[in-house]
Symmetry: C2
């Protein structure tokens, strides 16, 4: 996006009037009061002057050229104004008004007409149904926000206007400024990715916060976040929504749209937040540079109880309790009373005055094993609340590590909190909240180094069965591939499978089976797809007699269930695995997802324990395709079954490397056959030297 | 405990002086300022008068009899004063001073001497190492708290003085009163259970809050909580392993295991809280009677985004989104604009003024499917913040359901918050926090009906093998029972086991095995106990030849590992289970735990998935013995494997009732053989009609 779109040199406002409470009037006032130094053109045929400015009857009659038109009139009158904008060749339009796709079909059509008209003239559109935007770098407040909290180094993008007003109100109280606040509303044209791109590359912006109910293009969003190397804070509500399309019964429940969002947030090293308070507090911490290098926390406390609570919490938040070194312990010993605790948490006792806090905090600042310091204070009889706050303020100014204060109390601690706040120190009332946020920031900082952009191109392979697959692809229907084609595709990616053959009659079956006993016989995926509650599989068949009997029984079962009188039957050599593994995938987006203009997140892999209990234990982790080998190894290591791969309780080690190879190859398969909308591999039999794919279903859709 | 202990008619204070900052002086001042109407005797040989009161040189020389003596002088001078107390035959002593068991061995000895002396004279002791106590019902503030927030209906018991000061400071700010605040310190004599008993039976007290680092007698504590039928709020820090270390360096005592604590809290229908802020906010809610009948929440919002966040959170907090009935929907339709959402969350749109809030909240108050109402407000341009707050205040006064407000913002919402606060309404800045606390209170209320006190006596059985077991019991050593005894004990409780026999030679083995092939042969528990990393088990032996071979191999393995040249061998018929289950138990407390004076929680059962992967998947739930059958069924249903018991994906249903019988019988076994300190049953093989205990280890200790 051309950055000048957010810095127009002239702005016309449609919808101002003499009523000062009208949204258009508020916007005009905000723009003037904000000190905008471009030209302002209020538009209204009824007035000559408004708020001391000359008013124009319409856009056409403005003598100069216009960069931006802001529209805040009822939606039914907007198309006329849009036509004027086109005639006048303005550069951009901001539509504040509601009444578009958010209210139903008619609104959606209106929105589409307007958007198409503007797009064909290359006029950019912000909104509709938004609060406007604030660009404090250019002194533009083109919004109807109650108050602009002023300039700052965080950019904020919000899909919800109401959420914007809440955050701006918090920011006004706490004097937290923003470089930009952009309310994108229905995002008919300008969406989050273009703004992200702008803000990621802007060195004056140190963090980006977003409220998003849906992603315009998830894949690009993740890539932008990976590039950012600055904190991206995101609220993405709607997680409890049931998966949009429960495609296959397995993967449908194991790789939902929420799982995709979370995997994307992790992949992009973003900071996931769950509500407005949390988002705001994270912004405050980032604003005062409270971003710990790592997860090791040192604690100073004038009371044992809160220290214990903090230690509990450190473990739960996946932080680490610093191991205080011998040198620092000696230093602490030199000034603390003998009853103190000089290991972490450092308990400086209930009679500690501010000097003891100062020395203890200083000692932890000098201690290499400490990444951040949590200072706990309870207001005991001789506690110097203000003095200690002042000490913390002084130390924070020079410190290279974050100092976070938790003053526990209400009335008496207030004066201390005021000092901390005036000195831009990080303070909390609540140990749990403090550590929760510190953990998120430390994880971001550690993740920065590990984030690596993987290009889909690396995984793209020239495919042999494209044509055959395409025969199955429909726009509005999901189809399952026939077993023979599935097997051929897996072979293309060197995926290890049992000896197997699809046969059409008993004789063929006996010929094949008798060379490889014991075998399993199964209905094909296509027959199974119709109904799953019939016996469609027989295992461990060891003789020709048994084979004949089971073959006929299976054939009968299939015919009875599907009506297919000559079903195909899959014969597989039995594989005994030490572990049954599961690999599933769902695609979010269309089959053009890996092309330049494809929209969506792509394929989400679900990996973990396989077998019939996959859904009971849900020992599943997610991978947003494509990921590099190291990331896959690290994600795999977080499944519980990975302990079994590593050899559990004297059992042998299993072919973990082969499993990682398999997952890598499946990534290639999905990128190369993006028509696959869903995949179920269950089980993969893991032995000591193989990872054998026993059962695969591939579903396709455009 | 005699309730008069907390209402002494006369109090002597040792440790007052002319220095107004001395702890004793603060206590004297607090007592006088608090309006105590009993007699006060400051003690100090150096002064005649302090704070306008006549001073006595020592306790003996006070002419009248004395109810209570409060001591706040350095610990080394205390024994003299205690002697005076004994001579004077006072009723109780409060020791504020520190320097006892929390500082090491010498302090522990001093504490024991003093405690024993007082106990033998039947003089009660509060402390040492405490803040004192406040009894607002009797106008007694015998503490060195900075401020007493005044009378109220919640009693607060704290093991940490510092935690007390933090809570009192919060309460002073928010004007939340307490009936009693008791700082129990090292609880050398008076502990939480006696106070609980007092407060549970006091109808003026509507809730009890506790900060406890260790339980004086867990079993009794749970029973008291079960009887209470009023909210018991508890912070019990020390849940993580590291926190345990901090506790033992802090108070010199060990923490009970976290699982036991959590199981006890659930069994007692207590409300578990994790930090001071949460505890305090729950107190505030209880204080204004915000206790929803059930978990169904109705939402009114002037913005979509926060509504979605609330819906997400309701699912995560295990609350339920109310299904709004047709009649209420019609009512909502009658006054809301057509773009509103009349299903839950009710979106009354961004231009909602207070009248729309009023009608919508009233409609939800009348709706039967709503247990509590969450009102969300974002400060949009025409939002009537104060007006809406006033509406909520008015409705709350008459409402029979809790109304909880979340005003999202900072500067502009302040005036609204002030109105809510002045009118004792429940308000939050944070949706997540609001729903988290509402969930805890709703769960408490639902749990009240379900809580049932089970008497251990019901489970006590006259045992046949007491003598034999007692031979294994030592005070300082854990011993494992021999297999034959274990089998006999299990048989006593009609526990289903495979056909089995302990044999001492091959011939005996062949005689037994050949009648029941296939069999498993195992080293005995006693041989296995020494070392686990040798092959001590062979499964699925089907012939005499195979038996001979494996028997000899096993015998050799045992001899090589243990040195035992004539080991006993256990032979068991093979049982094929459809599910492997696990039942374990640990005892917290001594072997007298189920007797009247036994201290501790008793046995904690762990039940869940068995087999070799028990520790990998940790699909385990806990039962604090004894529980009734319904509770066991309900806890069992929360394990993941219970889905398998119920027949998963077309598999047959398993013998769930037999498993519940087994757990009930194991409860009897543990109550009847309390010498068992630890038990491992893994696996229990669950078939369609049996729950067969295959492998059991019983450990005993006094």
């Amino acid at each position: 996006m051309d950055p000048s779109i957010l810095s127009p040199k002239s702005i016309a406002i449609v919808g101002t009037s003499q009523d000062p409470d009208k949204i258009g009037s508020v916007i005009l006032r905000n723009l003037i009061d904000g000190g905008y130094n471009g030209k302002i053109y209020p538009i209204n045929p009824k007035y000559e002057e408004l708020q001391g400015r000359r008013v124009y009857p319409d856009i056409i009659q403005i003598p100069e050229s216009i960069d931006m038109v802001c529209i805040a009139i009822p939606h039914q009158f907007i198309e006329d104004i849009i036509d004027q904008c086109v005639t006048k060749k303005v550069k951009s339009v901001v539509i504040i008004s509601a009444g578009f796709k958010e209210v139903g079909e008619q609104g959606r059509e209106l929105e589409e007409r307007i958007t198409n008209k503007l797009r064909s003239e290359k006029i950019r559109l912000l909104g509709p149904n938004c609060l406007g935007f604030i660009n404090n770098k250019a002194k533009i407040n083109l919004s109807f926000a109650r108050e602009n909290p002023g300039d700052g180094k965080i950019a904020f993008i919000s899909q919800s206007g109401a959420f914007c007003t809440a955050i701006l109100d918090m920011a006004s109280e706490k004097k937290l400024g923003f470089s930009h606040v952009v309310s994108i509303g229905n995002k008919a044209d300008i969406q989050e990715n273009e703004l992200m791109e702008l803000f990621v590359s802007d060195n004056n912006i140190s963090a980006i916060a977003l409220y998003l109910e849906e992603f315009s293009d998830g894949k690009e969003f993740v890539t932008l976040s990976q590039k950012a190397k600055k904190p991206i804070l995101i609220i993405a509500p709607g997680s409890s929504e049931k998966a949009k399309e429960a495609i296959s019964s397995h993967t449908g429940s194991l790789a939902s749209s929420f799982d995709t969002t979370i995997a994307a947030i992790k992949k992009g090293n973003m900071i996931f937040t769950e509500n407005s308070e949390e988002l705001f507090k994270l912004m405050q911490l980032i604003n005062i540079n409270i971003i710990p290098k790592g997860k090791k926390v040192g604690i100073v406390s004038n009371a044992g109880g809160p220290g214990i609570i903090a230690v509990d919490r450190i473990e739960k938040e996946k932080l680490e309790l610093s191991e205080i070194g011998e040198k620092t312990k000696q230093k602490l010993l030199s000034f603390l009373p003998p009853e103190s605790s000089i290991s972490n948490p450092v308990d400086i006792l209930g009679d500690a005055k501010s000097d003891r806090y100062e020395l203890a905090i200083q000692a932890l600042l000098d201690e290499i094993s400490v990444d951040s310091i949590l200072v706990l204070l309870t207001p005991q009889l001789i506690t110097e609340i203000e003095g200690t706050a002042q000490i913390i303020a002084n130390l924070s100014k020079k410190a290279s590590k974050p100092i976070i204060s938790c003053f526990l109390g209400g009335k008496y601690i207030k004066s201390g909190i005021r000092i901390l706040e005036e000195n831009n120190c990080a303070w909390f009332n609540d140990i749990q909240e403090a550590l929760h946020l510190i953990s998120k920031l430390a994880e971001f900082n550690e993740g920065k180094e590990l984030t690596k952009i993987v290009d889909c191109g690396e995984y793209l392979v020239k495919t042999k069965h494209k044509k055959e697959v395409e025969e199955y692809v429909y726009k509005d229907r999901i189809e399952i591939l026939r077993d023979n084609l599935t097997i051929q595709i897996l072979k293309e990616f060197k995926i290890d499978m049992p000896e197997q053959m699809v046969v059409s009659n008993l004789e063929q079956g006996i010929d094949f089976a008798s060379t490889i006993f014991p075998v399993a016989i199964k209905a094909t995926a296509q027959d199974l797809a119709h109904k799953t509650d019939f016996k469609g599989i027989f295992l461990d068949i060891r003789t020709i007699t048994e084979f004949e009997e089971k073959y006929n029984e299976l054939k009968e079962n299939i015919t009875k269930t599907t009506g297919n009188v000559a079903p195909l039957i899959l014969i597989q050599q039995m594989i005994e695995g030490n572990l049954e593994f599961f690999i599933g995938a769902n695609r979010e987006g269309g089959s053009d997802i890996y092309e330049k203009n494809g929209l969506g997140f792509g394929h989400l892999l679900a990996i973990g324990q396989g077998g019939i209990y996959t859904e009971i234990f849900k020992d599943i982790r997610h991978i947003l395709v494509p990921e590099c080998r190291e990331k896959i190894e690290s994600i795999l290591s977080r499944t519980k079954v990975s302990m079994i791969l590593d050899g559990y309780r004297g059992k042998p080690k299993l072919a973990k490397e082969k499993l990682v190879d398999l997952i890598m190859n499946i990534q290639k398969l999905l990128v190369s056959y993006p028509e696959i909308i869903s995949m179920d591999i269950n089980p993969v039999m893991i032995t000591e030297d193989r990872a054998v794919v026993v059962d695969t279903k591939l579903y396709v859709k455009s």
